[in-house]
Amino acid sequence: MAFEDIKAGLDKFNAGVEAKLAKAPERANLEPNRLYTPLDLGEDFDYVTKLGFPGEYPFTRGVQPTMYRGRFWTMRMYAGFSTAKASNERYRYLLANGGSGLSCAFDLPTQIGYDSDDPMAEGEVGKVGVAIDSLADMEILFDQIPLDKVSTSMTINAPASVLLAMYIAVAEKQGVTPDKLRGTIQNDILKEYAARGTYIFPPKPSMRLITNIFEYCSKNVPQWNTISISGYHIREAGSTAAQEIAFTIADGIAYVEAAIKAGMDVDAFAGRLSFFWNAHNNVLEEVAKFRASRRVWAKVMKERFGAKKPKSMMLRVHTQTAGSMLTAQQPNNNIVRVALQTAAAVMGGTQSLHTNSKDEALALPTTESVTIALRTQQIVAYESGLADTVDPLGGSYYVEALTDKIEKECWAYIEKIDELGGAPEAIHKGYIQREIQDSAYKWQMDVEKGNRIIVGVNKFTQEEEPPKNLLRVDASVGVEQAARLKELRAKRDNDAVKANLAALEKAAADENENLMPYILDCVRVYATEGEICGVLRKVFGEYQAHTTL
């Protein structure tokens, strides 16, 4: 059919619908058009340049040629709470039940570089993740888990180099050399300033620590993903889908620029950059977001940075279902939400996935609820058929139009951020934070006005008993960790600790030094995370946030 014929047909169709709207009205507040047709792709829609083939530039349809026909995504459940011993048990349970990779959640003191007995850690030890103070804790965390067989993701940012060093040191003790290690550190400080809050140092030394890791790993830990440039938390903070990928890709541009400025060749490190997306409620919008993000990143790497290797242009992504979309009300409904979000991530072509548990609007998940979340992935993988063909929604008039729309919005933001002087400057000016806050406020007001329905929250509500059997982390974890620290400080070689911390301090003051080997030396003699970060705080100072409202 020629385009004129489709246009004529569509006009006739719309006129017919409009004539009947008075009698048969549509729902209010609908964003997409009523119907998408080949007209939305445009007459000059070029399959090869816009979509191409999976595993080929611009990777719109996926980063691997066979996608899930080869192997499923990595089912990587984010877990960690209380002590290293309790978390180790959870990890081994997940691996025994079909989990295919580990993902460590650390408590806030660990994420912000405080030992468990620091006054700043009061009340927080072991709460949102596992408490790690030294290599001694890390040895217990990975006890009986062969680090040459499993890949491990660690949600750690400001002190990423310290936790990576501990992981390398544990592997050494298991007889596993660094070149065999596979995994990811989040290591994305820019989104910490903008949306997540676990920063320690000011931007400049933070960027140095990040590029130090890029360089060290490119030579010593070549299979390690050195950063997970994260949109997840930007979305959780309230951004839209387009803002999520735009602000994150802008952060990615800043990291690539920093590494090139530090003297690295783009193709030496870009293949180890990875991303982290949110799988939100609107299934088709999310699929389009994943597809658009791959197209934008490929173009950025090829055209802006002149990358040559295809691997450098691939946006490989871990995904987590949207925690902020879970409701405390009628928590069983969250199982269904997570299943839909899982479908979105899979049709979007994710490389790995964490599924949230139904009780996470209330507390950390129990073993039972985590099992349901893992089973959800397995059902989507093995039973739904969604994983049987590559990019199953490619060619859908609506999904292609939406992919184009999100891509366009993304480029507009990147341009705006370039004008502001790049992502670090845009964050410094509060621009990115304000954009996110405005979207968050609009969402909340839409919910309160009933323009957006959340089942069980502002419609279909019911009286219910508070849920039972929530996981609770006992306050005694803090006491236990403090006692372990006291014992450690008494029995380790304190002269060696002192000497290595002094060497680190000296190296930190010299911008040309790569700090990874020094941190590794500190870790090996059981210097604590708080001591190592304390030295770096002394040299680098601490970031002072500009609060925007």
């Binding site: 806030l108 003191p109 994420q111 912000i112 405080y114 700043m120 850690a121 009061e122 009340g123 927080e124 709460k127 949102v128 910490e192 997540r196 809050g197 676990t198 959780e236 903070a237 309230g238 902020s324 409701t327 405390a328 009300q329 609007a361 209330l362 507390a363 950390l364 806050q437 968050a440 406020y441 909340q444 919910v447 309160e448 959340i454 929250v457 502002n458 508070p466 849920p467 929530l470 609770r472 982390v473 306050a475 946030a545 609060t547 409202l549």
Partner: protein, 130 residues
């Protein structure tokens, strides 16, 4: 009623400030004077800010699970500074089982996920001493 001044504060190390910022903005839109502290404040810093800014309400937000330790500590420190008339409320991911204990410690109301901001505005208007 005279201008009601509200300090929205995040004690502890938790960086989740979407809720705190949305509530702060909704309270401002409802006509209150709102001061938002930003993240990562110690209970001491919050009590001091409440004193310096002469607020009528302290609204605490915490999603990390440290509420049982940190919320009561803020109330205690406010008392030490003689701020006994300040209305203290809290919100975040707080299990129902913890709420009676927090109320006994002087947190007048605890708002959990899904609460409309209008409920918080109403509660402040009905309970504040200004």
């Amino acid at each position: 009623m005279a201008n009601i001044r509200v300090l929205v504060a995040k004690p502890g190390l938790d960086g989740h400030d979407r809720g705190a910022k949305v509530v702060a903005r909704a309270l401002r839109d409802a006509g209150f004077e709102v001061i938002y502290t930003g993240i990562r404040l110690t209970p001491e810093q919050i009590a001091e800010a409440a004193l310096q800014d002469d607020v009528n309400v302290v609204a605490l937000s915490l999603l990390s699970g440290a509420h049982n330790t940190l919320f009561p500590k803020v109330v205690e420190l406010l008392k030490e500074k003689g701020l006994t008339d300040v209305l203290v409320i809290g919100g975040g991911v707080i299990p129902a089982a913890d709420i009676p204990g927090l109320k006994a410690a002087g947190i007048k109301e605890v708002f959990t996920p899904g609460t409309p901001t209008s409920d918080i505005v109403k509660f402040i208007n009905e309970n504040v001493k200004a």
